[in-house]
């Protein structure tokens, strides 16, 4: 699944709203807290050197200098430093990273060619993930070693004895390395795109013997069916109408257009087009509002969905052939947005209580309901494939049922089924007794549009770009006061912490068993399983106290480290969902916040550092 939590619009996210205090306020709050901590620490360190009175003056003065340095920062100097950083990167042969990338793709071409349900997802997530790691690694190396090298070679002496501000040294490096990484990323993006499109493209031929007439109830020929050849580990069946136009079934996430021409001897020649439906950028409209998804129990009364165990915990289940319903409420459904009716797409998990043909489809029904008047469409039945996105068009002209009379008449979706305020409900029912449908909020959406896949692919790379920028900032900042290798390790630690933030929070909040770091280590050494209680004693107590302290620290660290995992939007691209501009702008703003905060911190570290010491 792609969307775990409701996506706010950029402004809802940024400013205080019903959803919380907003990112901007949070940012200032965090920055304020950290700055105070920072100043206190700086004061303590300075008093150790200069005594408490002098320290007060020193700290105040360095803050004042910081402001004046910022004001006097010159673009020309920043660019000069950036140019130098670029030349340095080129001299350190960063282009090798690109060669490595090409080599990875070359090998990937072999093992990605295996049998897979969804080759497109595999290809796309592979290239995006490979690029992601490679570029972050590159950013890490570039950023962490540059300044320490300059300090080691003392080339920094000739730089800082010019009227160069620490801001310019920081920004120059960040901009320079970001430029290099951007150029590489752009090249990788183009190459990956070609790799994905070429890797997924294939052709089928029609197996002539398989073609059969397709007759209607009266026995008239109304088209043909047939099979295609086996290519790229799969074959399709297809149907064409009497004119010879049709399409294949969906295999491995795609289908082909079929056209017919007449051969020289008058026989039909069927041709299949390029694979369709695997490189998409769908724009979904999800259920929103106070109760985006609610349930009716088996007795038809409001209730919760059923949980069927640990698996798929985020889905709730409704029982088949009962009063149980899953009800999504959509907002702002207007004629303008959907002039031709409602294009509905859904993914459904199926839980079978009795053994049977696992391949057998479990029928379902849905109704479109006006939440204000209670008018509903006649049930539309469908046959979902489990965990596959299933498309269903509700046309504008539908039969609607009047709740008062239970009589049906011809109606219009927007006139009869959408409330005045633009709300609309979709009720889902499982039609087979003894089976369950599992659904979650984002499982059902209205398909508002399809956008360019290429642009979405590029947006996926923008997500990587943002991560790269943050890594460069962290790397440069750490390298202002640590040696190259240590700065690299520290930056790597933030990346790892950022990627596994969920896990670390889990450990810290004790939702993951086995205790904190020391207890885990103790268990590891003594080979005690996480479920065994440790014998109470003073040693164990001390260990657990220290662990609690450590875990608070870890939680604090996780809270301020960027969660790189969130920036990664590869899933959207791979699953064929358009990356919402709101999401991208939120990520960009978060990233900017980190860039600013981390760079400012780096400035003060560099400024307070004794360059020749």
């Amino acid at each position: 699944m792609v969307v775990e939590h409701e996506l706010l619009t950029f402004l809802e996210w940024l400013l205080p709203s019903q959803y919380g205090m907003g990112a901007l306020l949070t940012f200032f709050l965090v920055v304020a807290i950290l700055s105070v901590l920072f100043v206190i620490l700086a004061y303590i360190f300075t008093s150790a050197r200069h005594g408490p009175f002098e320290a007060f003056y020193v700290v105040a003065k360095s803050i004042a200098t910081g402001v004046s340095d910022l004001v006097n920062t010159s673009p020309r100097r920043i660019l000069a430093m950036a140019r130098l950083a670029i030349m340095e990167a080129v001299r350190r042969k960063v282009l090798i990273a690109f060669v490595v990338f090409l080599a990875i793709l070359l090998f990937a071409g072999w093992f990605l060619d295996a049998q897979s349900e969804h080759p497109a997802r595999l290809y796309i997530s592979f290239v995006l993930t490979a690029t992601n790691y490679l570029v972050l690694l590159l950013a890490l190396f570039l950023a962490a070693f540059s300044l320490p090298n300059d300090i080691k070679n003392r080339t920094i002496y000739t730089v800082v004895t010019k009227p160069v501000r620490a801001t310019e040294i920081m920004l120059g490096r960040v901009i320079g390395f970001a430029t290099v990484a951007t150029a590489l990323l752009a090249m990788m993006c183009v190459v990956s795109y070609v790799f994905v499109v070429r890797g997924l493209s294939h052709e089928h031929e029609v197996v002539a013997e398989s073609v059969q007439d397709k007759r209607n109830a009266q026995g008239d020929v109304e088209g043909f069916t047939g099979e295609t050849s086996l290519n790229s580990h799969h074959r399709h069946t297809f149907e064409v109408d009497a004119e010879g136009v049709g399409q294949t079934d969906v295999q491995m996430g795609h289908w082909h257009q079929v056209t017919t021409t007449k051969g020289p001897d008058g026989q039909s020649v069927y041709t299949l087009g390029d694979p369709q439906g695997q490189l998409l950028a769908r724009v979904p409209i999800y259920a929103r509002g106070p109760f985006p998804l609610r349930f009716l129990g088996r007795d038809g009364r409001p209730g919760d969905g059923i949980s069927v165990g640990d698996e798929w915990t985020y889905r709730d289940y409704i029982e088949g052939a009962s009063g149980a319903r899953a009800i999504w409420t959509f907002q702002d459904v207007t004629e303008n947005r959907f002039p031709d009716g409602l294009p509905i797409e859904m993914t459904i998990g199926i839980f079978r209580t009795h053994k049977g043909n696992i391949e057998r489809v479990v029928r379902g029904e849905l109704e479109v309901v006006n939440p204000e008047t209670g008018f509903r469409s006649e049930p539309i039945s469908f046959r979902p494939v489990e965990f596959e996105i299933f498309h269903l068009d509700v046309p504008r002209n539908v039969r609607v049922v009047d709740p008062a009379t239970q009589l049906s008449r011809d109606g219009d979706v927007f006139e009869d089924l959408v409330a005045e305020d633009g709300r609309l409900e979709i009720w889902l029912r499982c039609a087979e007794p003894g089976q369950y449908y599992g659904v979650s909020r984002p499982d059902m959406y209205l398909l508002a549009a399809e956008r360019s896949f290429f642009m979405n692919f590029v947006k996926g790379y923008v997500g990587i770009w943002l991560q790269m920028l943050v890594v460069v900032c962290f790397g440069v900042t750490f390298s202002t006061f640590l040696s190259g290798a240590v700065a690299m390790m520290a930056t790597l630690a933030t990346i790892i912490l950022g990627y596994f933030s969920q896990f670390v929070v889990g450990v810290a909040t004790r939702t993951i068993e086995g205790g904190g770091p020391i207890e885990s280590f103790y268990r590891l050494v003594t080979q005690k399983n996480v479920s065994i209680d440790l014998e109470p004693g003073i040693g164990v107590k001390v260990m657990q106290w220290v662990d609690i302290g450590l875990m608070y620290l870890m939680q604090a660290a996780v809270a301020i480290v960027p969660s790189y995992g969130r920036f990664g939007t590869a899933r959207y691209v791979a699953y064929g969902f358009n990356i919402d501009p709101n999401l991208l702008t939120q990520h960009a703003a978060t990233c900017l916040a980190y860039v600013v905060a981390v760079t400012v911190a780096g400035y003060f570290f560099l400024k307070s550092r004794e360059i020749a010491g």
Partner: protein, 316 residues
């Protein structure tokens, strides 16, 4: 140049004399202790240095290796923070960024980016002074001409010899036409011609009104050019004053003459004896090796290809 015994004079006498607006560098009780990784004091590199360098003078900082000369310069540039005391340059604290616009610094070794060529190097440092493109271009050209690297300006610095690196280092120190020059061992790694040129350049820059602080362990370099010197030893100031005052040997009188016969020399001895003086020696002076070298090179440039035989005849 004769070696002469240096008379003791009190360091404070000269230092206390001039106080005013024309003081470019001032240090008060300036001390530096280097600490090791654990913060324990390791080296006492500079002890309570009080110094004033005035506008328009060449000030020499003299001392054996490890006496704290470079440490002093780094403190004046804000590359190091003083452990105790203060360092003021142009009346502001040494760490002040604005100061750097008026300072040129030649480090003891040229710490330059090896992957840049001479032009790129100067261009880079020019940009750091926020110099407009045209000014930068003109300045780069004249500086490369001045340090005599026209022929190698497109070569990466990694291919430069020590002396060439020194020259480009000097050019980079002058890129901003500084008011104050801090030169750390400016003649190290230079051949005698380069040394001579460097000394001439230092004098010329002084005549242009710049203030220059030179530090060196090569005594002849300092003696030639400096107006005032300070002698450091193990981080302590041992001597401070005008070179001419410090080197004047009050009790010795030197007479130079040409075309004297042996009888005449005997007569002079007699005159000195009559006045109660004591003759240290009457002899023909020897040229310094430096003079000899310079003559040979000049001669060979004038008549290339020939072994310069005439120089060994002892022209002086």
């Amino acid at each position: 140049m004769e070696a002469a015994a240096v008379e003791k004079s009190t360091p404070t006498a000269a230092a206390a004399s001039a106080v005013g607006a024309d003081v470019v560098i001032e240090t008060r009780n300036l001390s530096k202790t280097y600490h090791d990784f654990w913060g324990r004091p390791k080296v006492l590199a500079l002890k309570a240095l009080d110094l004033e360098v005035r506008q328009g003078e060449i000030f020499g900082l003299l001392g054996p290796n490890g006496s704290g000369k470079s440490t002093t310069i780094k403190l004046l540039l804000g590359l190091l923070f003083p452990t105790k005391g203060q360092a003021y340059v142009f009346g502001k604290e040494a760490t002040n960024v604005k100061n750097k616009e008026r300072i040129g610094y030649l480090p003891e070794e040229s710490y330059l980016y090896k992957f840049l060529n001479a032009e790129e190097t100067l261009d880079f440092y020019g940009r750091l002074f926020d110099m407009p493109a045209q000014v930068r271009r003109d300045r780069i050209k004249s500086l490369i001409d001045m340090v005599g690297l026209q022929w190698a300006k497109r070569r990466q610095l990694r291919e430069y010899s020590k002396g060439m690196t020194r020259r480009i280092g000097l050019a980079q120190a002058l890129i901003n036409d500084p008011d104050l020059l801090l030169l750390d061992e400016p003649t190290s790694g230079l051949d005698p011609i380069g040394t001579r040129e460097m000394k001439d350049l230092i004098l010329r820059l002084r005549d242009e009104g710049k203030t220059i602080l030179v530090c060196s362990h090569l005594l002849p370099d300092i003696q030639d050019v400096c107006d005032r010197i300070a002698i450091l030893h193990q981080g302590e100031l041992k001597e401070l004053g005008r070179v001419s005052d410090l080197l004047r040997v009050e009790k010795v009188t030197q007479i130079r003459a040409r075309g004297l016969s042996d009888e005449a020399k005997e007569e002079i001895r007699a005159v000195i004896a009559r006045h109660g003086g004591e003759v240290d020696g009457i002899e023909n002076p020897t040229a310094t090796l430096e003079q000899l070298f310079l003559e040979i090179v000049q001669d060979s440039e004038a008549r290339p290809g020939r072994r310069a035989a005439g120089a060994s005849d002892g022209k002086k």
